[in-house]
Symmetry: D2
Subunit: 355 residues, 4 copies
Amino acid sequence: MVIREQERPFSGLSDNKKMLKVGICGASGFTGAMLLRILYKHSSVLISYLGSNSYNGSNVNALLNSDYENTPICFSSIDVDLINKKCDLIFLAMPHTASHLLLKDIKIPAIDLSADFRFNNSALYEKWYGTVHSCPDKLTNRVYGLPELFRDRIVGSTLIANPGCYATSIILPIYPFVRNGLCSSAVADSASGVSGAGKALKKELLFYKVDENYKAYNIAAHKHQPEIEEAIGEKSGQKIALSFVPHLLPIRRGILSTIYMDNLSKIDKNEVAMIIKKQYKNEPFIKVRDDPPQILDVVGTNDCHIYAAVDEHNGKIIVISAIDNLLKGASGQAVQNMNIAYGFDETEAIGGWLG
Amino acid sequence: MVIREQERPFSGLSDNKKMLKVGICGASGFTGAMLLRILYKHSSVLISYLGSNSYNGSNVNALLNSDYENTPICFSSIDVDLINKKCDLIFLAMPHTASHLLLKDIKIPAIDLSADFRFNNSALYEKWYGTVHSCPDKLTNRVYGLPELFRDRIVGSTLIANPGCYATSIILPIYPFVRNGLCSSAVADSASGVSGAGKALKKELLFYKVDENYKAYNIAAHKHQPEIEEAIGEKSGQKIALSFVPHLLPIRRGILSTIYMDNLSKIDKNEVAMIIKKQYKNEPFIKVRDDPPQILDVVGTNDCHIYAAVDEHNGKIIVISAIDNLLKGASGQAVQNMNIAYGFDETEAIGGWLG
Amino acid sequence: MVIREQERPFSGLSDNKKMLKVGICGASGFTGAMLLRILYKHSSVLISYLGSNSYNGSNVNALLNSDYENTPICFSSIDVDLINKKCDLIFLAMPHTASHLLLKDIKIPAIDLSADFRFNNSALYEKWYGTVHSCPDKLTNRVYGLPELFRDRIVGSTLIANPGCYATSIILPIYPFVRNGLCSSAVADSASGVSGAGKALKKELLFYKVDENYKAYNIAAHKHQPEIEEAIGEKSGQKIALSFVPHLLPIRRGILSTIYMDNLSKIDKNEVAMIIKKQYKNEPFIKVRDDPPQILDVVGTNDCHIYAAVDEHNGKIIVISAIDNLLKGASGQAVQNMNIAYGFDETEAIGGWLG
Amino acid sequence: MVIREQERPFSGLSDNKKMLKVGICGASGFTGAMLLRILYKHSSVLISYLGSNSYNGSNVNALLNSDYENTPICFSSIDVDLINKKCDLIFLAMPHTASHLLLKDIKIPAIDLSADFRFNNSALYEKWYGTVHSCPDKLTNRVYGLPELFRDRIVGSTLIANPGCYATSIILPIYPFVRNGLCSSAVADSASGVSGAGKALKKELLFYKVDENYKAYNIAAHKHQPEIEEAIGEKSGQKIALSFVPHLLPIRRGILSTIYMDNLSKIDKNEVAMIIKKQYKNEPFIKVRDDPPQILDVVGTNDCHIYAAVDEHNGKIIVISAIDNLLKGASGQAVQNMNIAYGFDETEAIGGWLG
């Protein structure tokens, strides 16, 4: 059990500050461990529960290879009653199709990092994930947790579906153009590091299969394609038809998406840049650049870097985005959502370079 | 000087066989070294000249890290008279814009691995390479050395322009569809290992800039884009408008191209596969696959692997190709061209796995 | 210029707290950038000066790829008067043999990350670094900034020579055995990521020279060998003869040292472990482990992990250590030294996972 | 089944040449596939059998990703009767402790790439491999297949135990010094690419566990240590005590060993170099160098590169060797052994650069 008797935060903050008690379920994967590292340094958060069936009873420091804190943080088993009792807010970093089974009985606010609540109706979910949704009613009130599009609805929400990593990297650069009626069809060619695939023991994730290699997978059949189309449609009321091909890079972290959009109004390079800069001018985590971003520019940050160009020769708007799949593509964005939902400073614990 | 007195091949073949005396200029770069390794094992070839100003006088074994042969092969300076006198055929593995200055005075047949003779007119060359062509008349009779499209013209040719690496990986999968009037616009998203950039001492090629990174460059402005459009047009009489974005992978060798074509006649997956299989059914180095290729599938071979799919949702034909940029994308294809031009077995010295 | 008018820290701390004004010279290299990232989050530090001749005038955010802070931090030129006037403490992250020329005229306390003040006499420095020392008198009072050996002398010191990265990884595991008279001769076989070599534009640091490769260099001739022997001797009064061979790994960060010591008293595995655990039992950044450490265990932390074993067959104590060369091997240790010297909490800003 | 009716070699050699019919068991691992690629190009060999229980019935081209040959080579099940009937010689590329169970009933000459016949007595085997040897009598007549030490005994041998990869890289540089009474104790610190661990689906071989990492394993407890000591003793009659620590590199192929030997007679650098050059002066695959070898120097070749130095400060001879673990460390050396045993040219099919 992880709550210390005195119910004080692990870091040495003042006692009279009211702390948000948060739990993390599935804390042994990449995104769970990253959540833990981020939340541990959050000045308004007390980590009150860590759930992992595979690490139940283990000390968290052993997993994270650090024992300097000398804190007896241990994993508990995954238990709904414990979650409801111990936490004000629960982060679910569970596999797809496992998350909704747990969330069904959770009575407290939740931020779900799986895909289980990303669609706003169960039919689409069941088509793409091949399983019946256990709590379709919760889909109606969930908010799609992409702050740059849905910040207003995140405030005060009790169920936030954290977006997919590819989806984040593609929606952000496409949305301003669809919204303005400048594009109705796009090709998104994305490349991701292996942490996007988790820690599963699969032959295709062995070093000798990945190192010095590169490949496409789920060609025009990846589950983030309908997620992207739905989220953009939900916000803009416009339709976008997307061809999406993800690729696997021989690196640990990061996503680069190169997106080719139809240029319906034949706008030029300056107009393209202006549209995207105007859209995101007040966003703390969006950086619109004048040169193409690289994956190393964003690894270790919650930022999304975007560069826009025009291919006049073939009538395309070309936009390139880069994010860290574990931060803006997962755990960083989840904390950003929490910060917004609870009225904390939006950049608290996720501003700047996190490593 | 590299010719041994008795003018016999380095490998132990019969004396009475007439050998083709070939030279290599620029033999110290990636493609030059690969040419040397391939031609060394070719049963009808005698390497009679190795030209490199930077390695002039050095023993080639020191460069290649192998001295088992105990052969006194040394680099000479680059000298047109020597080339004309010592060789029946010269391979030029020189930088772009340096090659045409040398070839201007060469009297023997040549296979040029640079871009200097890839366009069939000097205007396009001068626009994209920013320099005046020294022998534009030679452009008229040169053949674009992509055997799968121009084999007939390669036979007996005296000046073969070896295609660009990206161009090879993109023309081969696109051409059958353009030729059949099924596509007039395409997006090509390619990723290459660093050997495509040569051995230049540039900051952007340092390990810490490439490792764990991925980036786009020359966005819709790469010189292979007009090369691809011209070559397809020259062969098919059809126009294709191409958006092309190359990317740099943190690997040594290989190119993967993911190509999204308009599907003008709404053909289905079976028709798409049939068209490409029919086009290349007799080609020794094209493998049309039923699953997507990976870069490691082709590294060390002169093969181009192609996979075709249809994205009905967004009306696209999606084709993925993989080549080794140093073999089918450069030196392997150059030897394939030589084999065709001189009537050798087309797969001699480049069949199977080369390493 | 980097000091904001109101002379407040960049982060939002209380006004009435007295802040230490620190400067960084050479802030554009790996260690300078890391110092900046660490010190930026230190609750008692105000960054008051950033010196870099190559980046003079540039905004630091452009270099670090982050502009979320919206702070106008710019690099200044390297100027001794400015340093003396603007700072309470200066960190020098300069090249070897450049640092002492600057430090000669610095009147404020300094922590030097170069090798220029690591030896306690100029003769050894001049022999190994091939240049005359400009302020040999300063060597007398400098302290060798390895806290686990010289913490007492670091308190209140005005010139701290931050240890070499290899030296840190080797001294820490060897020292307890030498001190106890259990070992007088050792072999240290170390492997480092490329950031140890800095950002220099050298052919041997190109991606194609490092990727998929591994090599030894400076065989039994590396400058950290006398540094190690002197530091251990200075503390223990014992002599240790060391054979040291460093190797270059195809990774970004981290050092692993495998050390083979003579086992003079034939102690067994338990005694070996006990000696090292006893030595470091109160050290916040030393973790003595029961299984061998890996580089990924320590990357992103200021920790040194140590594992000890005995090879009874050949009479050796074998100890393996791992550090992050940019943190415990450079910038992290430099901040640890500052924390000690100024009486801050020793783990402030460097505890736990830094990224 | 792999034998074509006409019993001719796959490559187009003359009919009247008598071909050696060879089989490969366990042909789907790294070393089996490499054997196949090498033997396929051997001018005196006919591949008559490929055994793999996991790939039984599969076409070999699918595995090797190449179908240009249009040859119907398929894997058979592993069957002793088939081996005895179809082959003149069998290569066993099987797991340790599986190989001896098969070899027990094999009546034809064999080259075994496992560890099962490397020791000359079953007691040592059983101690280190933890299993009873099924045919200890065969150990008496086996030869340890390191050509540079045991070439005389390999000629005409019917059971050749191919050495371990680390063992090859360590015995070759140590042996000349032990033989000459110059060294009786050594430390061998080796680093290997992941192909040394095979294709097993183990968590520690996942990309995210290997990439950007480096670690020691089997510290002073690796099975190649007694193998090395026995082989050197068997040849020289001298004893050598060895401390051996292997490490895992984040690369595909290659081994670098850095070896620190006691320098009993205090010989100098010139004598050290002379001893090793004299020992190997007629060896086709040993290259004694004047600068330290790197792994990339030998990958793709059957060469062992050796560099020798002296550390006078600490009284050590330091020798560095590099090999390709799949070639000189496994399949290349196995073919070298075959070439010697059958009187073929020793470098046939393995000379020069293999890829």
